[in-house]
């Protein structure tokens, strides 16, 4: 997010009665770029689940377990199963099955080994990405509340307190400070939630469980506030230069409530760098760029810049219709060729005419001829013959002879 002026975070002053800082009027710090990094819960989950495996202690069963017998199978023919049985006699144990995972007193299936791969390697960049994401998520009040922290009475997120807090020595003053800045309800919640763990963990040195309270991050090395705050139930303390993902996103869930001191937040810029500038402490490391700088898709679409160039919505959607053959379908043919109607009409009429005339002719022919017609036909035949045999009936014979040059 290339903001021209970075937003300012105000530093919460601590009451003058606690310390001698009289000039504790409200100062501001620019928001470090880390807090604007992209929030990737998937990366945080992956890194967290792998990193939490790194503090495991190996466990295994004894490698001799189940094999400390000299058992031999009795083989076939004895009306017993072929499992190896304990040799010897005079005791219950003799003849009992041994060695198998199904036998009483046998070794388990696939005995656990100490050379199991207990630790996981995670890429440095991924680890850094996860931490950066967790820091960014801690500055969003919604995510912190969703994780379960009681931050309703906190004056500002991210919560920054003045450096005079780093010289607090007594836990009682520490609690007073927490109450002043509105972080006490969260610590109280953690204290009230202390309970005995249900299950076998009780007897495996994990007897008590409780919720997590705020995480205090300080900037200067060797600050006294570590000792003051560490005994408050639920409260964790961390140095900025050594931030632990397991503390920033407990359980793999983003959004721990973090209280920064002024020097801590000022150091964040130099530790993690910005989106363009390399970090000073981590060589060559630049904050990860997100796929979308502005992830609010709905807002982008509804913005003026986009809406002004967007085509209007098609309310009527035309769908592809079924193709009909014009040669078979008259209406479709007419859409293409309107004359086809008259042409077809003419054709039909002509056809009808033809049919009619043919019928008449045939009827006439098939009808027996009457006497007058017969006489008329005969006479016409005779007259024709006469014309055929007379060649002087030709009217323009004279012209014709002239032309021909033939004299008669």
């Amino acid at each position: 997010m290339a903001a021209a002026a970075r937003p300012l975070v105000s530093v919460q002053p601590l009451p003058a009665s606690l310390n001698d800082m009289v000039t504790d009027h409200v100062t501001t710090v620019a928001l470090p770029d880390v807090m604007k990094a992209s929030i990737r819960p998937d990366i945080v989950n992956f890194v967290h689940s792998n990193i939490s495996k790194n503090s495991r202690q190996p466990y295994a069963v004894s490698k001799k377990a189940g094999h400390q017998t000299s058992a031999e199978s009795w083989g076939t023919g004895r009306a017993v199963s072929r499992i190896p049985r304990v040799s010897g006699g005079g005791t219950h144990r003799a003849g009992q099955g041994a060695f198998g995972n199904m036998c009483r007193g046998g070794r388990m299936f696939a005995p656990t080994k100490t050379w199991r791969r207990w630790h996981r390697k995670v890429n440095v960049n991924q680890k850094r990405y996860a931490v950066v994401s967790a820091i960014a998520a801690s500055s969003i009040p919604s995510l912190v509340m969703a994780r379960g922290h009681r931050v309703e009475s906190v004056p500002e997120m991210p919560l920054v307190i003045s450096d005079s807090a780093e010289s607090i020595e007594k836990t009682s003053t520490a609690i007073k400070v927490l109450k002043e800045i509105g972080a006490y309800p969260d610590a109280e919640k953690a204290k009230d939630s202390q309970a005995i763990r249900p299950g076998k963990g009780k007897m495996r040195n994990r007897r008590y469980i409780s919720r997590k309270g705020p995480l205090i991050v300080y900037g200067t090395e060797g600050a006294k506030l570590v000792k003051a705050f560490r005994n408050i139930p639920g409260v964790d303390v961390a140095n900025v230069e050594r931030l632990n993902l397991l503390k920033l996103a407990p359980g793999g869930h983003l959004g721990r409530f973090v209280i920064w001191t002024k020097s801590a937040i000022e150091k964040l810029d130099s530790i993690y760098g910005s989106f363009e500038k390399c970090s000073e402490k981590k060589q060559g490391y630049v904050l990860p760029r997100s796929k979308m700088v502005n992830a609010d898709l709905a807002r982008i679409i509804n913005s003026d810049e986009v809406q002004s160039v967007v085509k209007p919505i098609k309310k009527e959607i035309k769908r592809a219709s079924l193709k009909k053959n014009p040669l078979k379908n008259l209406n479709v043919m007419l859409k293409l060729n309107p004359y086809a109607k008259t042409a077809r009409r003419m054709a039909l009429l002509a056809e009808a005419e033809r049919v009619k005339s043919k019928k008449e002719k045939l009827d006439k022919k098939r009808k027996p001829v009457s006497k007058e017609e017969l006489a008329a036909a005969k006479a016409a035949g005779k007259a024709w013959y006469k014309t055929m045999i007379s060649d002087s009936d030709y009217t323009e014979f004279e012209n014709f002879t002239k032309w021909l040059g033939v004299s008669q």
Partner: protein
């Protein structure tokens, strides 16, 4: 930064502490949620511009949050008190949410309607007397009934009633009527009759005519002393018996004492009668034997 879409993706698909999944759907426990459902448009965390109606001590407030205050959780929610009048409250909502998305305006009015209806119904129900369901603590009830039974047997009501009534009888409350309570009256009579029967066994007789010779025999060498002595002994005997009776009576309860004393009276009279008879008996020894024979005959 504060991108609603990003926040919603993280909340919905990863983890939200306010979401409650039940068989019918996903619900939101957040007190500021307007519908109570876990939804993209109803999530108060994933919408930077949001409004709700909340009820505080019967007064309705319109809560609004805007993106300008999103980084200050302390001052996030702006509160407007709604008037009691339903129509006026709707107008106020319209005024404050004038250019807001239609969804929020509609839901806010819906919520206000529902809440007013609920409050009306609650007030109506409060006026009606409703039967209160009490629990029966079985243990206590059983324990009390057991103790009651024991106390009843320990009290011995029959005896105390008897005592009281006897006292009353002695006190003359019932005058001369002795058989007020027939059961007890018969019981006492039975007891006393037994004694009377035993006495009868000792002294058996019915007054019978005895034919006695003249006392000419007395002139025979019989000392009067002897007869008199004999008679005196007999009378003494009787007196002893009488005394015994009296002692026996004293040891028993008051009621019976009274009866016994009375019956004793009667007995005394009877004894006197018998004494006289005995005297007659003594003189003639033979009659005793006859008497015993008679006794056997009666048996």
């Amino acid at each position: 930064m504060q991108h609603d879409e990003v926040i919603w993706q993280v909340i919905r698909h990863n983890h939200c502490s306010f979401m409650a999944k039940i068989t019918t759907g996903n619900f939101c426990r957040n007190p500021y949620n307007i519908t109570g459902v876990c939804n993209r448009s109803s999530c108060p965390l994933a919408n930077s511009r949001y409004a709700t109606i909340r009820d505080h001590d019967g007064v309705f407030y319109l809560y609004m949050k805007t993106i300008e205050r999103a980084h200050k959780p302390n001052e996030l929610w702006e509160r407007v008190k709604l008037p009691r009048n339903y129509e006026k409250a709707l107008e106020i909502i319209d005024k404050h949410l004038m250019y807001w998305p239609k969804f929020l305006v509609h839901k806010a009015k819906q919520r206000l309607t529902k809440m007013t209806q609920m409050s009306i119904r609650m007030r109506k129900l409060a006026l009606k007397t409703r039967e209160k369901i009490m629990t029966t603590p079985r243990k206590e009830i059983k324990r009390e009934s057991r103790r009651e039974k024991k106390a009843e047997t320990a009290a011995e009501l029959d005896k105390s009633i008897e005592k009281e009534l006897l006292e009353r009888l002695n006190g003359g409350l019932y005058g001369d009527i002795h058989n007020i309570l027939p059961k007890h009256f018969n019981k006492i009579l039975d007891e006393n009759e037994l004694q009377a029967v035993s006495e009868d066994e000792e002294y058996e007789e019915e007054p019978e005519i005895e034919y006695v010779q003249g006392y000419d025999d007395l002139e025979e060498e019989d000392d009067i002393e002897d007869f008199g002595g004999f008679a005196i002994d007999e009378s003494l005997k009787n007196n002893d018996d009488a005394h015994e009776d009296e002692e026996g009576m004293d040891s028993v309860d008051g009621k019976r004492v009274k009866r016994r004393s009375e019956s004793a009276h009667q007995k005394m009279e009877e004894d006197e009668r018998r004494k006289s008879k005995k005297k007659a008996k003594v003189l003639v020894e033979v009659e005793h034997e006859d008497a015993s024979e008679r006794q056997r005959a009666t048996f």
